[in-house]
């Protein structure tokens, strides 16, 4: 009789289908030859591990973890790690594939990886949050299990859902202890004191700001006074809110795991953050109303930023979205049927591929600085960043206009084209 049933991954094949469909549409538009479709349309490797962790009640539970590499033709795999009950094989494969395209689109020499552990650190499902010691045990053991396929030149981990700076530090420490020396370049998002990079905290939100600015310019939308809705108030969502607020946008609604709020007045993200720290929730924020998250997505606004989880907009709610521009800061929040509906309704979707290019760039910069153990100033980093992101957006727009396809397909065409070329040159071993 187990004291606590371990959470097992439940398959939601949809997400891999989503990634595959997006890939196939772009591959069709590119007329990609079969031999490359067969390689690029599948993940190269997927590791699943089951490992025991001693819990604080003295019992041992087994946890299931994953790490997938979609493609490593361009360079070491790079991608997120998350601790969440929703982690599963299809999701991990889908995100790994997305990460390959993300890197290729900004010409960063990485392949795509993703992974995580099926667990419930905050007790959302089980009602019992994991203790710091349990999280540390789990992290050290998980990294031990996947050690043989990660590394500065094999696979670089990036924090995602529920991965705190402490956990990032434990990842770096465990890997370093096993290899007998300090290895900083195996994980990014590190605190500054142990090889982290400037601008780390703002990266996600900054990226959203940059693409929203570009999209607004392209579509002739004045950001001053534009109404913005943000789903997800984690690192990316909250920082995006702060940047857009500074630009003069009206943040009118935000949500996080505790719930969603909407206000007739302009919301101040700094104050929301303070409120949340004090009260542990967004709900009942002064001068605002609580609402359901599905309702948040359907609020009329100029810009809807999706900065939460995957699978948010599908055929069911796409007809009721009333935003002019959607910025996908999360991974795969919109499925292909929804893409079609939104395109018909002339709603501009800035795909995940582009909207979070900044955080990818910054993790690349952190890796580069780690490899040389030589660190840039904040100004140098900022300058390098804006150069790259601007170019990527323009190339995708050009491709989209040339082939009369949406931004996502255009972005994928660019990315897949680059990876395909590298693959043709490298050939098929042996």
């Amino acid at each position: 009789m187990l004291i606590q049933e371990p959470i097992r991954a439940t398959e939601t094949p949809d997400l891999w289908q989503v990634a595959s469909t997006q890939f196939n549409r772009a591959a069709d538009a590119l007329n990609l030859e079969d031999k490359l479709r067969v390689i690029l349309g599948n993940v190269k490797r997927e590791l699943a591990v089951n490992f025991p962790v001693r819990m604080s009640n003295g019992h041992t539970l087994t946890f299931q973890g994953f790490r997938a590499h979609h493609n490593v033709n361009m360079g070491p795999a790079r991608g997120g790690i998350r601790y969440h009950p929703g982690v599963n094989s299809a999701q991990v494969r889908a995100f790994a594939m997305l990460n390959t395209w993300r890197a290729a689109i900004v010409n960063v020499p990485f392949g795509g990886a993703s992974g995580g552990v099926v667990c419930d650190p905050r007790g959302q499902l089980t009602g019992r949050a994991m203790t710091a010691r349990e999280l540390e045990n789990l992290t050290r053991r998980f990294i031990t299990e996947i050690d043989f396929i990660i590394g500065p030149h094999a696979d670089i981990l990036v924090p995602e859902v529920n991965i705190t700076p402490e956990i990032v530090a434990w990842i770096m420490d465990t890997y370093s202890m096993h290899h007998g020396q300090m290895v900083t370049s195996v994980v990014t998002g590190k605190p500054l004191a142990i090889g982290g990079s400037a601008l780390r905290d703002e990266a996600g939100g900054l990226g959203v700001k940059l693409v929203v600015e570009q999209a607004a310019r392209w579509k002739g939308l004045d950001l001053n006074g534009a109404n913005v809705v943000i789903q997800g108030f984690g690192n990316t969502g909250s920082n995006a809110a702060m940047f857009l607020h500074e630009l003069g946008c009206n943040i009118i609604a935000v949500s996080d795991v505790s719930g969603a709020i909407v206000s007739a007045k302009r919301l101040d993200p700094h104050q929301i953050e303070r409120y949340r720290q004090q009260n542990g929730t967004l709900l009942n924020y002064p001068d605002s109303d609580n609402l359901a998250e599905e309702e948040l997505l359907e609020l009329p606004c100029d810009i809807l930023t999706l900065a939460g989880l995957e699978n948010q907009i599908d055929a069911r709610n796409a007809p009721r979205i009333h935003a002019k521009i959607i910025a996908e800061a999360a991974n795969l929040p919109t499925n292909p049927q929804a893409d079609d509906i939104l395109r018909e309704r002339a709603i501009l979707v800035i795909p995940d591929l582009l909207a979070n290019a900044s955080s990818l760039m910054l993790s690349y910069f952190e890796w580069v600085q780690d490899l040389q153990s030589f660190f840039w100033t904040e100004e140098e980093t900022r300058a390098r960043l804006s150069r790259v992101v601007g170019t990527a957006f323009d190339s995708v727009v050009a491709m989209s206009e040339q082939h009369q396809v949406d931004l996502r397909t255009a972005g994928l065409m660019l990315a897949i084209g680059r990876v395909a070329e590298a693959t043709r040159l490298r050939g098929i071993y042996p």
Partner: protein
């Protein structure tokens, strides 16, 4: 071949484990560790075919448990290979190695492919690429592959060559079942079948049964089936029926397996061997006999056909040929079942000898190997049978308990990292 129940091989393997764990009162902490594999690697890779096209293949390597030593287990090329099947096979390997007390854990691998449709060059390309894909996981101290369904010494040689080329020197201990000239061991190719015959002899002795002229049926005529048939024939058994994937043949007067093997060199199947009548494959297992050796694939004996399967001895040359429901029926009907993890452990035992010889680059002669094999098989049979008789339980349960005890003890001593 019928598959009456809807359970997958992995579910069956876990059910067998659960039965044993329950009987032993195994603590929960260990149960949850031991009933799932430690690592599962899925790889998708392209292979250039002879016609210039590129085909994608999916392959797996699963390590169930490596607490007692490096993972050990074969690589199977078959169109029905699945992650589920490989998990079950890896788990059975852990118990098998523990039952015969060799210092290995359990692993298994496979590629979803019908190798009969590939040319030799394509097979080599596929093998070299697959070896490369699983190279992070395998190694002489970590995980040692071997042949299994549709793989053989040549394929092991290509695998070994690929890894050796990558590291720059001969890695002879990285696989077993290699050709003799390349660090293979004498006695390896006959080992599994020989082990089956040792177990059958022990069982017959225990049951006070005379093997002379004992009617014997063998399902499957690959390595395990054909060698088991030869060895049992040499012990005096009368092989009355034999089947392979193409069909089955029956001759109550007896079939000479040595001659049949010669016949197959031309025909590649047992079919059309002279003086035999053909028998539908589904009926082969139900032919009245004293000794039945399933030596083909999993899930052949099910709740559906078990009531009609009544040999005196059922010696499992294959892995997982009998479902748990069938187990109950056979036990009730007093069929003496020698479970796979004991009965076909001859192969992994001599694999172990091959690995030991490779590590020291010092090779034993055949009589020493066969002698050591007999010692291992006989003592393992004794240990399992004593446990079974003492508790009045089927040998499979006794074998599982013995195996799980050994792995559990090693785990308790090593502790849970970190």
């Amino acid at each position: 071949m019928s598959k009456a129940e809807n359970k997958s091989p992995y579910q069956i393997a876990q059910e067998q484990f659960d039965l044993a764990a329950e009987f032993m009162g195994l603590e929960d902490d260990l149960r949850c560790i031991l009933r799932v594999p430690k690592r599962e690697l899925t790889v998708n890779f392209p292979v250039r075919m002879d016609d210039g096209s590129v085909q994608a293949f999916t392959g797996y390597r699963v390590q169930h448990n490596v607490t007692r030593g490096p993972g050990k287990g074969g690589i199977r090329y078959h169109q029905n290979v699945s992650l589920d099947e490989v998990r079950a096979l890896a788990m059975w390997m852990t118990w098998k190695c523990a039952v015969v007390n060799i210092p290995f854990g359990g692993a298994k691998g496979g590629v979803v492919v019908d190798p009969t449709k590939l040319s030799l060059r394509e097979l080599e390309n596929l093998t070299r690429r697959f070896a490369t894909e699983i190279s992070p996981l395998i190694g002489q101290d970590g995980d040692i592959p071997a042949p299994d369904v549709n793989t053989n010494a040549q394929i092991m040689a290509w695998l070994m060559d690929t890894i050796s080329m990558h590291t720059g020197h001969l890695e002879s201990a990285i696989t077993t079942g290699k050709p003799l000239g390349l660090g293979g061991s004498l006695g390896r190719s006959d080992a599994t079948g020989r082990g089956v015959s040792f177990c059958v002899a022990q069982a017959a002795k225990f049951l006070n049964m005379d093997l002379k002229d004992a009617p014997t049926v063998v399902q499957g005529f690959g390595n395990v089936g054909s060698v088991s048939a030869r060895m049992l024939h040499d012990l005096g058994c009368r092989i009355i029926a034999v089947g392979d994937v193409y069909g089955s043949i029956y001759n109550p007067k007896g079939i000479d397996p040595h001659a049949l093997v010669q016949h197959m060199k031309k025909t590649r199947t047992v079919m059309d061997y002279p003086d035999c009548e053909p028998v539908p494959n589904e009926d082969l297992l139900e032919i009245k006999c004293d000794v039945l050796v399933p030596a083909a694939l999993e899930e052949q004996i099910t709740a559906e056909n078990a009531p009609r399967i009544r040999p005196k001895i059922l010696a499992e040359g294959a892995n997982g040929p009998t479902t748990p429901e069938a187990d109950k029926i056979l036990f009730e009907n007093n069929v003496f079942v020698i479970p796979d993890i004991l009965c076909n452990a001859g192969g992994v035992t001599v694999s172990y000898f091959e690995w030991v010889q490779d590590l020291q680059s010092f090779f034993w002669d055949e009589s020493e190997i066969n002698h050591r094999l007999k010692l291992v098989m006989d003592s393992s049979f004794q240990a399992v049978n004593e446990r079974a008789q003492a508790h009045k339980i089927p040998l499979r349960l006794a074998a599982n308990i013995l195996a799980i005890e050994r792995v559990a003890e090693a785990t308790r001593l090593r502790g849970i990292y970190p």
